[in-house]
């Protein structure tokens, strides 16, 4: 039986694992490589690693942590892939086929394309042809405003053209060959209010490619809700996985005990 996936998202900013709230507040949580080791030890189904660094050269400027220092994303990715016993998707700063190839070479299994996919959907098509749809995830952040939903780019550039509706963008990405959509409500980001069930239900029955739901997880029960009420293929979250020992195990244990089709909880 095909299982639904439970996927931790790690946000990486200049050498640190960070917590984000509404895309504008960032709190440093710790070492970005050690977090991967932990999530791997807890038999996480998969990992999504999003790099939101502004500066391409990293240093945590700390020598007291006994944690390895690394200088750039590729070096970090190299080390991360050595400890990850599960598939790793890497996102952030991807705008060319070369960017994708570099990340796959460094040990990523999939890449997630965000802004560049909106600017040039043909890049998604070319990437799918070159590397196969299965390793191309299009990552979409959106805002919920008065019951309407708009694609959203974090950072200075703000909103995309709001005359094109979110659903049309997602259909477009499917058409050009995206293998999966990571759909994240920026409005719910860090707010622990539960997933956007209404839209996830609508879009997961409309699209034929897998949808990864993200944004709003405040409890394992929120995950159970989205898996039981919508046809999404995976449920993702960031903050909730980083503050509790064996979080991934506990999440799957909760979902498994409710009879949802997830892998039985285990520790590696």
């Amino acid at each position: 039986m095909k299982k639904k996936r439970v996927i931790p998202i790690l946000l990486h900013k200049e050498g640190w694992l960070v917590q984000s709230k509404n895309f504008n507040e960032y709190k440093k949580l710790g070492n970005a490589q050690m977090a991967v080791q932990r999530l791997s030890d807890w038999d996480s189904d998969e990992l999504i690693y999003l790099d939101i660094s502004v500066n391409p050269m990293f240093t945590t400027n700390r020598s007291d942590t006994a944690a390895p220092e690394y200088l750039n994303l590729m070096e970090l990715l190299n080390r991360v892939s050595k400890v990850a016993r599960m598939p790793v998707t890497i996102g952030g700063g991807i705008s060319s086929l070369q960017d994708i190839e570099n990340r796959l070479r460094a040990g990523a299994d999939k890449v997630s394309i965000n802004r560049a996919a909106f600017k040039d959907p043909i890049l998604v098509q070319k990437a799918a042809r070159e590397f196969g749809s299965q390793c191309i995830v299009v990552s979409v952040d959106y805002l919920e405003v008065d019951g309407l939903r708009f694609p959203y780019a974090s950072g200075e550039s703000g909103l995309f053209d709001s005359s094109v509706c979110l659903t049309d963008w997602l259909l477009k990405f499917q058409e050009v060959g995206a293998g999966e959509i990571l759909l994240n409500s920026a409005t719910r980001d860090g707010n622990k209010c539960g997933y956007d069930i209404e839209y996830l239900d609508e879009i997961s029955s409309l699209l034929t490619i897998p949808i990864i739901a993200s944004g709003g997880a405040g409890s394992w029960e929120h995950m159970a809700e989205v898996l039981s009420k919508t046809a999404v293929d995976a449920v993702a979250a960031a903050n909730i996985f980083h503050f509790q020992d064996q979080s991934v195990y506990l999440a799957r244990k909760h979902l498994f005990s409710k009879g949802l089709p997830v892998r039985p909880p285990s520790i590696g």
Binding site: M1, K2, K3, K4, R5, D43, D45, E46, N78, S81, K82, R85, M86, P87, E101, L104, R105, A106, G107, A108, D109, K110, R129, E130, F131, G132, S133, Q134, C135, G179, E180, L207, T208, I209, P210, A231, D233, A234, R263, S266, G268
Partner: protein, 204 residues
């Protein structure tokens, strides 16, 4: 002579993942396409991720195919992973009709049914149909990580060690003499994947 696995590198994205997994399991390995290295190795692995025809293009451009064929004929264990398994077939039908390596003749690589969401990505269980060294110690219904939209079809049932169900029952593990193929990614399948890789390294 000590075991050494040679991982063939035709630019497929997951070479690093396969190497990392073998390193972690302390299975001696090298990444090389050098005919001498291929001959010296005790086991070969053809990793894979991506589309059939572009993979075949790269395989033909970068790998010493006749050398590999010859080593397989001599009985050297060979493991194809995902597309690395699919290219053993005679024909692929992804995007366009493309001839494969035809190491297992009369087989095709065809698309999963449209009734399920594609690609098939994530964890799915396999059903073991026959005893084979490659599945030694593995529980039936063990979960593995899959990422693909196409699968091997029209294969002699005697070669099917395990199947997986996703809209259709398709071969999850195949074995013909010293040639093994797995549709899932053992290098990304945690303890079940580790078991497959260890079993493979133990085959002679």
């Amino acid at each position: 002579m000590n075991n050494q696995v040679c991982i063939l590198d035709y630019g497929s994205g997951n070479v690093t993942s396969v190497k990392n997994a073998l390193d972690r399991l302390e299975i001696p390995n090298i990444v090389s396409n050098d005919p001498l290295a291929i001959e010296r190795a005790t086991h070969l692995i053809l990793p894979g991720v991506g589309a059939f025809s572009s993979s075949m293009d790269k395989i033909e451009a970068l790998l010493p195919i006749e050398k590999i064929r010859n080593q397989i004929l001599k009985g050297k264990p060979f493991l194809g992973i995902c597309v690395g398994m699919q290219v053993l077939a005679e024909y692929g039908h992804e995007f366009q009709l493309r001839k494969g390596l035809n190491i297992i003749s009369s087989t095709n690589v065809t698309e999963l049914p449209k009734s399920v969401s594609l690609p098939h990505v994530g964890w799915n269980s396999i059903k073991i149909l026959q005893n084979h060294g490659i599945v030694r110690g593995l529980k039936d219904e063990a979960d593995f990580y899959f990422v693909h939209s196409y699968h091997v079809s029209d294969i002699d049932q005697n070669f099917v060690v395990a199947t997986c169900d996703y809209g259709v029952e398709f071969p999850g593990i195949i074995a013909k003499d010293n040639i093994i193929g797995v549709q899932f990614h053992p290098e990304k399948s945690q303890s079940n994947g580790d078991l497959i890789l260890r079993n493979y390294a133990g085959l002679h």
